[in-house]
Every structure is written in C-alpha cells, then in structure tokens.
C-alpha cells in the first residue's frame, strides 16, 4: 500500500498534542477571539458591528496574522528536527517519509483549523447574537478562507523546511515568503505606474481605468487573494474604500482555486524533496 493512514494519524496526533500541551492552541484561540471582538466593536463604533463590517475591518489583520502563525508552526518541522537529530529515529521506524510529512502537515493544520474554528466561531456567535445572523453564510466562508490561508502558508513553510538544511535558514525563508505576500501588491502597483497608470485614479478609488492584469495580483499574493475573497463572500464590492471593479475572471471560485494551488503544489514538492533528503 502506498500510504498507511494509521502512521499518518499517529504523527498528526503527536503534533496536535504537542501544541495543546505547550498551550499554543489556547493562545491562538484567545488571540482570534479577542481580535474578532475588537474588530467588531471598532466596526460598530463602540458596539458590536455587523459581520460584513467586522470582517472587512478584520481581514487585513487576519490575512497578516494567520500566515505568521502558520509559518511559525511549520518552519522548523523538518529542518529543526533534522538538525537536532530527533527525526532520525522516527524515519528509521517502519513508516514512509510521505506519511511522516503528511502527518505533520495534518497535525499542525488541525491546530490552525481548530483555533480558527473555536476563536472565530465563538466570536461569530457573539456577534450574531447581538446584530442578527443574516450574514452567517458570509462569515462561514470567511472562516473557511482563514483556515485555507493557514493551510496554504503551512504548506509553504513545510515545503522550505523539507528542503533547507538548517532551522535558521528555514526561518529566513519563512520571512521571505511572508514578505512576498505582503509586498507583491506594491510591486504590481509599481509596474502599473511604470506602464503609465495614474496614481490619482488609484487614490481616488476610481478603479475602472485600471487594466485587468493588475488584478492578477490577487493570485500572486495569497494574503490579498484571501482578503478579497472574504469580501466577495459577503457580496461586498468595496474594499478599504476602493470600489472593486473586478474583471470576471477574478471571483470567489477562481480565488479559492488559486489558493488551493498555492497549498497543494508546495506540499507535493515538500514530499518529493523530503523523500530525497539525507537526514
């Protein structure tokens, strides 16, 4: 058989239990809970704001924070354990490397998903109880998008952890990957300006004159893509004061599809590289 689900489960369970033991999960749930409630109160001007308002306030912070958490959880997974030597005994056990890698991915992934589910879930219920639950599908999609964003960055961080030799270099790679998502928007705007775009239009929020290729940025930056997808999930067309006059090929479906590609491709590469690695 190609994969033994039992081995994957044993590894995943250990990763999850580790993070429960060292109180990471508790900390994450608390952070998410406080973050959403604070965003809601900000959006509502002193009292609980509506879900869509909350999410638009929240999404830029959330799409920064979740990648940071995922990278912190994942960056040392392979390189750190290879450096300490802890992975040798695991890999000399009757398990396949792909099982170890997937087990770690699923274990750490469930740490993220569980924390988002509980943290965002409880605060969602509190908001819903105060302001009504009319937008609950949008909020649900936002929660799923947040989990997907976490899984995406976890996949990226495990990918470079599986190829890099040392803990510190994989941390550096994590920083690079994080900043890529954060600055690619600026790079694209720079290109737009360089090719004759008007900053005035951009600042005025008149996006109708912006060429379609600029929107491709949503596919290049997982963080921005996730944020815009969350807006679209609520049927919002305004984002941070900008009118989102998106071309038809940028929609919730394509954004999610690209996020899935960002997740699956690095994970497959991680499996291939880890399989070849000398530990």
């Amino acid at each position: 058989m190609w994969l033994d689900p039992r081995s994957v489960y044993v590894i995943a369970k250990k990763e999850f239990a580790d993070n429960a033991r060292n109180k990471w999960i508790l900390a994450l749930v608390s952070i998410f809970l406080v973050l959403v409630l604070a965003a809601s109160i900000m959006a509502g001007g002193g009292k609980m704001g509506e879900m869509s308002m909350t999410v638009s306030t929240l999404s830029s912070i959330s799409s920064m924070l979740i990648p940071v958490i995922a990278i912190m959880l994942g960056y040392a997974t392979i390189s750190g354990e290879a450096e300490s030597g802890a992975i040798s005994v695991v890999l000399a056990s009757p398990v396949r490397r792909v099982e170890v890698l997937l087990g770690k991915y699923l274990g750490l992934g469930s740490v993220i998903c569980f924390s988002v589910l509980v943290g965002y879930g409880i605060s969602g219920i509190l908001i819903g109880a105060t302001t009504g639950i009319a937008q609950w599908t949008g909020y649900l999609v936002f929660m799923l998008l947040s989990m997907l964003l976490g899984l995406l960055y976890l996949s990226l961080s495990i990918c470079f952890s599986s190829v890099l030799k040392r803990r510190v270099t994989s941390l550096a790679a994590g920083v690079v990957v994080f900043f890529w998502g954060a600055i690619v928007g600026m790079v694209v705007i720079g290109l737009y300006m360089a090719t004759g775009g008007s900053l005035a239009d951009f600042i005025a929020g008149d996006t109708s004159s912006i060429p379609d290729w600029v929107w491709f940025e949503m596919f290049l930056s997982p963080q921005d893509g996730s944020g815009v997808a969350a807006m679209l999930a609520f049927g919002e067309t305004e984002f941070l004061g900008y009118d989102l006059d998106l071309p038809p090929w940028v929609n919730l479906g394509t954004l999610v599809l690209v996020q899935l590609l960002w997740t699956v491709i690095p994970l497959v590469l991680a499996c291939v590289w880890f399989e070849r690695r000398d530990v």
Binding site: V89, L91, R96
Partner: protein, 308 residues
C-alpha cells in the same frame, strides 16, 4: 541465491558528499545471531554507513540488503524488525520518557504495555515523568536503547551505543546487548571503544577513510597480523636492560624491557621452559602473567599499515 545466514549485507556501498568520499565501495556481511563490531577512528564513515543501512542516507552507489532483500532506501516492512539507535540521539524535549516510548510504540504498531518494563530495563524508571529535555546525554542515550527494544526486533543496528555513558551505564547496556543476543538477536554496533568491542564481539569490521580494512574474527585478525600472546615478567633489578643471554633461550622471539619489567614474545609451548631457564640463570622472577594481544594493537597496526 541469498545465503540465509546473512542478515545485513552491503555491496560496494559508496557515499560521496560533494568533494568528500565518506564511504568507499564498502562490502560487509553481518551474520545471523552474532554481535558484529563495526570499528573505525572518528570520521571513518561508520555513521554514514549505518545511516545508509537504515535508509536515512541515500547511497551514491552500491546496495544494502536486509535479510536478502534490497532496501532501496525504503523497506518499511524490513524496518519493522530492526531496532535502531542513531549517533547523538535526540528526542522531543517536551515529552516525558513514557510519552516518548508510547509514541514510538504507536509508530511501530507495538503494545504500549511494554513501556514501563523497557524503562526499568535501562534504569530510567525513576525518571519516567521528567521531561526528556531535562535529561543528561547519558540518560537520553539509555532512553534510545529502550526505544530500540520496542517490539522485540530480531536485528539491532546501534551507532555508538556506549558513547556518552559512564561506566555503570556501559555495563547496563553491555549486559542488555548480551541478553538480547542470547535470545537470538543479531546485533551490529559501531564503536571506537575497542575494549567494549573485544568484550562483546566475535567478528568485527574495521574501516578507515570509508574503506574496509579488515572483516574477520578478532582471533583471525590477530593471527593475520602475527599478533602473539606475550609473557610479562617483573624482575626487580633488571635496570632497563635485558640480560645479554636472553636471546640464547630457545623459543624467545622478541624482548622489550622497561624498568623492571620485560615483555617476551614467544610461543605458548615455550613459556614454562623460558621461565625455568631464566630462573636457572639467576634472574629473580617476582611476578609474571601472559598478555593476550588486544584488539587495540590490531587496530593500530591495521590503521598504521593503511597510512604507510
């Protein structure tokens, strides 16, 4: 056709790291039921070879066979029957020894009921609930030995199992290895502590600079190198000088004198006669014993032969 008495075999195993040839066309055979010593100076390629046997390193070329089946770096089924102790073992700092062994029991599909007896076997039962992160190097090593015994494998691959242990624990591990071997397990262990190897092993492989220098029983290696038992004689008043007549005695092959002691190389059959002659000639023998050739001598001789 596979020889069923061979448990682990490497054929022309080679590992190159960039410009360093760590293991160079190494072929060796570990036979069923033996304790096989794998010797070499630091950096000779012992750990690299062991990692290739366990599939942790990919060979640059060459093959590893376990029980006649080529491992190809995979071999999940084959690894079920192997207990492994890596060099400079490390576990997860935040787990206790019980949690650590529970985890490896689950990975190996073994019953967790054995955990407390394994900890007792290596003398860690009083530290069962401490975090492994607080362990000394020696304690971690002992936990590694306990880990290797999970599921009672029939093959053990141990990289420096006595490294970092104090004398008391060395004995615990040595006794444990003997016991496992008596119960039928095949053991290969690497070491640079030659006295340990001499105590435990019959057959050894000696490697240097990644190449096999010798693979045989300790006796055969000594014979081959013409390493002979010697007669150690303590005679007060010798004064750092051998008596002039000493070479006239039949059977004396070589004599080395230091202060009041003399080492005489001779055939066992001549020992008594030599001492009687010495006595007749007026040499006062206060004490004597025979000195068996040590593995250390063979080792030094083989390696210096390599250098020269």
């Amino acid at each position: 056709m596979h020889d069923s008495s061979v448990v682990i075999e490497t054929r022309a195993l080679t590992k190159r790291f960039k410009d360093v040839l760590a293991v160079d066309s190494l072929s060796m055979k570990v036979r069923k039921g033996e304790i096989y010593g794998f010797l070499g100076p630091n950096g000779a390629g012992k750990s690299t070879t062991i990692k290739m046997i366990m599939g942790l390193f990919r060979p640059t070329s060459g093959k590893v066979f376990i029980e006649g089946r080529q491992t190809n770096g995979g071999g999940v089924e084959l690894r079920k029957d192997i207990g492994f102790l890596p060099e400079r073992i490390s576990f997860y700092d935040n787990l206790t020894p019980v949690q650590t062994l529970d985890f490896f029991c689950e990975l190996r599909g073994a019953d967790k009921a054995v955990v407390s007896s394994l900890l007792r076997d290596v003398g860690l039962d009083n530290a069962a609930n401490r975090r492994v992160g607080t362990f000394s190097k020696g304690m971690t090593q002992l936990l590694g030995v306990a880990q290797a015994m999970i599921g009672a494998p029939s093959i053990y691959v141990l990289d420096e199992p006595m490294g970092g242990l104090d004398a008391r624990w060395v004995k615990v591990v040595r006794d444990r290895l003997r016991m496992l071997n008596e119960q039928g397990a095949t053991i290969i262990f690497s070491s640079h502590i030659l006295s340990e190897v001499q105590m435990l092993c019959r057959r050894v492989a000696i490697i240097n600079k990644g190449r096999l220098v010798a693979e045989d029983t300790i006796e055969n290696i000594n014979d081959h190198l013409n390493l002979r038992p010697r007669l150690w004689i303590h005679s007060p008043g010798l004064g750092n000088k051998a008596p002039s007549w000493i070479h006239e005695i039949e059977g004396v092959e070589d004599v080395v004198v230091k202060d009041d002691t003399m080492l005489v190389t001779c055939d066992a059959a001549f020992r008594l006669k030599i001492m009687m002659t010495m006595n007749e000639r007026g040499l006062r023998i206060e004490d004597f014993r025979t000195v068996e050739p040590s593995l250390e001598e063979a080792f030094v001789r083989l390696l210096s032969g390599e250098e020269g």
